[in-house]
């Protein structure tokens, strides 16, 4: 019989223990049983906020439920352990099950620390640590109108951003005299504060909360200095408390400030019991980041297997993106001593602060702080951790452009092979180079798959990219996303080539810059580029278009097509509704209201399309571009004209915006929405661009979508007037069109944009590249070329003639067959 290891806690550390166990020889000797109190198997708590913004739980699981089974690990979720009997060597659960153990591992993590403030039990007060916490906040949001977050540390700021993005005015309350007191010095914290205030987050410092007021429900906060704050939703993020209650009641030693005491081998005083992760105190402290917790898990698996490894402390450097602002601190960030030299760079107008701490002899970097711009973070951390001798002018590190290569002359090439690139997974530069070299992992996703680097917090991803580029360069090669075998150019390069050479056709382009006959990949890409640059009639080059664009309709089963007339903003007159009804009846088309607030007519034969459109156009309709990678719909809610909550006229604005961008071709389809108030009946934040009325104007959100990976749009600018909305939209859309990879929705584009939302804001709102005017002019030019494609086809016999099934016969396609369904027809299954 195998001996048994019982593991309490299926959080991030507990999972890491399972993973290391499953790939070690221990699995032959031991059976592993895991208890988890939460209903889900272990998930990525670090990215909890993405659950808040809509990522489904499955995507955040560290391993699917089936993984445990496959590895012969017994996982009991929703099963809290309530007692340990050290004499009998058993644990018992809330559901009154008792299990014996040979080895017991505690990985119970921590819980949010809730300070004993009067009134803290009131409805509307939450913490931010588990899926369940998020569900509760989400449920409460619609009832709330003003949020507050207690705690201006790392987690507090993250929580504050989440509720702010849900449309609630939000205040951050910090007890200390500055934000992120553990990571930032006063100067850095000040810069961060003004950045956050720019985003409409109120920051209150030196505030000690004395009382939470309200009758059953939270209504406000009262501070020690006598001041008060109105709020009806409160998130407490005042630090963490290690969960040592089980250990404590089993008589194991716990630290006076909480935490199970273990030695550097993760041993408690009981030789059968070990503890790892955020529940322990080792070297006199709780290690509240995943990387050290993972390291503890790995060490313990090795030690149970007979080794004698020790946890020697860990680099607590961290970098995060807060509301589009990079904040990083690394090494000894806060040392104040005459014995060190500091170099400081501050740019208040751009919101940048950088500090380097250098050893007395000027040779080594000890640590530092970066706010507002942190591209150098990865490199600087490496310089500290690997004790790389500093160059003559270390200030180049923070003044020079990018960290990867060049800045101060130190690049990834200078790192020793032992440098830990991914500290979450403990992957070194050597591991990554060997994956590239021997396993052919010649792209970042492949490196991630091969080595697991970058799969934890993801912070090292830029460094993986740098390493790959460095390696390829050293081999005399380049890493470029070229379109296909016919064009050795990226989409961006083709965009420029078409523009500079004023090419109007695919044939000209392939002759000059490509080879062969093209293919189904490059033809639609070039077609889309040509359309995005010239907005010419796409039917002129019908055979390079993707099917739907070739026939200006979506192809369906049995080769029939759909017809979707534009109904801007979803507003339609009874007369037009009648016409749609008459046309559908005449041609026997299946009709359905779409998810995009318009009407789709299905089941038209290719040869019927021009006649159907002719009748619709005569009645005043236009093409809805439901077939194109182009603007689809701008959904609206009824807004202030009728709705008792409406702030402004969302329907008129939606129509205006839809009319402005109709026919605009883009790397992927574009959808918009305009809601008349925060209730968001137009679901604007699920769109590539969303506009929501506020008391003072409009909030503009960008880069949301539904689809397979739903994502809520991010706030780009708030309380702006209509003209500014349109100006920013022009810039945003044009910038997307110019720079996105083919078939990349705005959401994915943003995710891959270096600098992320902060950078996008800089470009669109602050015009940091100085291209704002140009983008607006280019948009104006495109808009001026708009023509309804279907009107052109219907009125041009030569184009109309392309809509036939056979070129040598007027027979109809005998493969088309329908069957009835609920008084209409649908295609018969082939």
């Amino acid at each position: 019989m195998k001996k048994r290891i019982v593991l309490i806690g299926n959080g991030m550390t507990g999972y890491k223990f399972c993973e290391k166990f499953a790939s070690s020889p221990l699995k032959e000797q031991y059976k592993l049983v895991v208890f988890g109190e939460e209903p889900h198997p272990a998930y990525d708590r670090v990215h909890l906020t993405s659950y808040y913004t809509g990522t489904v739980p499955d995507e955040l699981l560290l391993a699917p439920a089936g993984w445990y089974d496959e590895h012969n690990i017994e996982l009991l979720t929703n099963e809290k352990v309530i007692a340990i009997d050290r004499e009998a060597k058993t644990v018992s659960s809330e559901k009154e099950k008792t299990y014996s153990y040979d080895i017991l591992v505690l990985a119970t993590g921590s819980s949010a620390f809730v300070p004993p403030i009067e009134g803290i039990e009131k409805e509307g007060v939450f913490v931010y640590r588990t899926f369940d916490d998020i569900d509760k906040i989400k449920k409460y949001i619609p009832k709330a109108s003003k949020a507050a977050v207690i705690g201006g540390g790392l987690l507090g700021l993250e929580a504050a951003k989440a509720v702010l993005d849900d449309g609630l005015p939000t205040s951050i309350i910090e007890f200390a005299s500055r934000l992120m007191p553990r990571q930032l010095d006063p100067q850095g914290a000040n810069i961060l504060k003004s950045k956050l205030e720019n985003f409409d987050l109120e920051v209150l410092l030196n505030k000690s909360t004395e009382k939470i007021t309200g009758n059953g429900k939270l209504e406000g906060l009262q501070f020690a200095d006598g001041s008060t704050l109105d709020a009806d939703l409160l998130v407490i993020s005042a630090g963490i408390r290690p969960r040592d209650e089980l250990a404590r009641s089993a008589g194991l030693e716990v630290h006076q400030r909480g935490g199970i005491v273990v030695n550097s081998k993760m041993e408690t005083a009981d030789p059968s019991i070990f503890a790892i992760g955020e529940c322990v105190v080792v070297h006199n402290m709780v290690w509240g980041l995943v990387a050290p917790c993972y390291e503890m898990a790995e060490i313990l698996v090795n030690n149970i297997g007979g080794q004698s490894q020790e946890f020697l402390g860990f680099d607590l450097s961290s970098k995060l993106k807060l509301i589009g602002t990079d904040v990083a601190s690394f090494g000894e960030a806060l040392v104040e001593s005459d014995k060190i030299k500091t170099i400081v760079y501050e740019n208040k107008s751009r919101g940048i602060y950088k500090r380097l701490n250098i050893s007395e002899d000027g040779k080594y970097l000890l640590g530092g702080i970066l706010v507002g711009e942190a591209e150098e973070y990865n490199m600087l951390k490496q310089v500290v951790n690997n004790k790389i001798a500093l160059p003559e002018n270390p200030e180049d590190f923070i003044l020079g452009a990018r960290g990867g290569e060049g800045a101060a002359g130190i690049g990834v090439g200078d790192l020793p092979d032992t440098a830990a690139i991914c500290s979450c997974e403990n992957i070194t530069k050597g591991d990554i180079l060997s994956a590239i070299e021997t396993d052919g992992a010649e792209s970042v996703p492949k490196i991630k798959k091969c080595t697991k680097a970058g799969t934890g917090c993801g912070g090292c991803a830029p460094m993986l990219d740098d390493l790959l580029i460095h390696y390829m360069k050293s081999q005399g090669r380049e890493v470029r996303k070229t379109i296909c075998e016919h064009f050795d150019y990226t989409r961006q390069e083709l965009y420029d080539l078409i523009k500079i050479n004023e090419f109007k056709s695919y044939d000209e382009l392939i002759l000059a810059y490509g080879k062969g006959s093209g293919c189904e990949t490059c033809k639609p890409v070039v077609a889309s580029l040509l359309a995005s640059i010239w907005n010419d009639l796409i039917t002129k080059q019908d055979t390079i278009q993707d099917t739907n664009d070739r026939f200006l309709a979506n192809i369906q089963q049995r080769g029939v097509y759909s017809v979707v007339p534009r109904i801007p903003g979803g507003e339609i007159t009874p007369e037009k509704l009648i016409v749609i009804g008459q046309v559908a009846k005449k041609y026997d088309l299946y009709t359905k209201i779409t998810g995009g607030q318009r009407i789709d007519l299905f089941g038209a034969r290719v040869d019927q399309l021009p006649a159907i459109w002719e009748e619709l156009i005569d009645a005043g309709f236009e093409s809805g571009h439901a077939y194109g990678k182009s603007l689809r719909t701008v959904k609206s809610c009824v807004g202030s004209t009728w709705c008792r909550y409406g702030m402004h006229d969302s329907v008129s604005f939606a129509i205006e915006v839809e009319d402005r961008y109709k026919g605009l071709r883009s790397p992927h389809k574009l959808k918009g929405g305009v809601s008349g108030c925060v209730r968001e009946c137009a679901e604007a934040r699920g769109k590539d661009f969303g506009i929501i009325a506020t008391e003072k104007g409009w909030n503009l959100f960008v880069c949301g979508n539904g689809g397979a990976n739903p994502r809520h749009a991010d706030l780009l600018a708030s309380d702006i007037d209509k003209e500014t909305v349109v100006k920013y939209l022009d810039r945003f859309l044009m910038y997307y069109i110019k720079t996105a990879e083919p078939l990349t929705r705005t959401s994915k584009w943003l995710a891959s944009l270096e600098g992320g939302l902060g950078y996008l804001k800089d470009v669109v709102v602050k015009d940091s590249l100085g291209i704002g005017n140009k983008l607006e002019e280019e948009m104006a030019e495109l808009i001026s070329h708009y023509k309804c494609e279907w009107t052109e086809v219907v009125r041009t016999p030569e184009l109309r003639n392309k809509f036939r099934h056979f070129v040598n016969s007027d027979e109809i396609d005998n493969n088309i067959k329908f069957v009835p369904l609920r008084d209409q027809k649908i295609p018969a299954k082939a």
């Binding site: 075998e485 016919h486 044939d507 062969g516 006959s517 093209g518 293919c519 189904e520 490059c522 033809k523 639609p524 019908d542 055979t543 390079i544 993707d546 099917t547 070739r550 026939f551 192809i555 089963q557 049995r558 080769g559 392309k802 099934h805 056979f806 070129v807 040598n808 016969s809 027979e811 396609d813 005998n814 493969n815 082939a830």
Partner: protein, 117 residues
């Protein structure tokens, strides 16, 4: 190759005039009651023909697919699920299970002729 095909052909059927077909693309013709997809590689001066029905889901759509080449070999991608087929021998390049029937094509006096077995 040429000769073998020649011998098996029973009949050359006039399908349509050259200018009825799009440049660098395909169109369907009805020949002896059969739907045939004809492809005009204007840039190479070559023509190809295959059955119009896609063997994947039976859609009559091969003629509406995007044409092109893979390392110099002509191919077409079905518009439905983008399975690609060699136009030289009709083999599916993305899924060995499928195969298109091909037909010889020749141009005479401005007309496209298709060889039927």
């Amino acid at each position: 190759m040429e000769i073998k095909e020649q011998t098996e052909i029973k009949e050359w059927v006039k399908a349509a005039a050259v200018e009825d077909f799009p440049r660098n693309g395909g169109a369907a013709v009805l020949v002896n009651g059969e739907q045939i997809a004809v492809f005009n590689f204007t840039n190479e001066g070559r023509w190809f023909a295959t059955q119009n029905q896609c063997p994947h889901k039976g859609e009559m759509a091969i003629s509406r697919g995007l044409t092109g080449d893979s390392e110099g070999h002509p191919k077409v991608a079905c518009p439905f699920h983008k399975k690609t087929f060699s136009l030289e021998d009709g083999k599916c390049l993305t899924d060995e299970e499928f195969q298109l029937k091909t037909f010889p094509v020749k141009i005479e006096e401005g007309y496209v002729l298709i060889g039927i077995e």
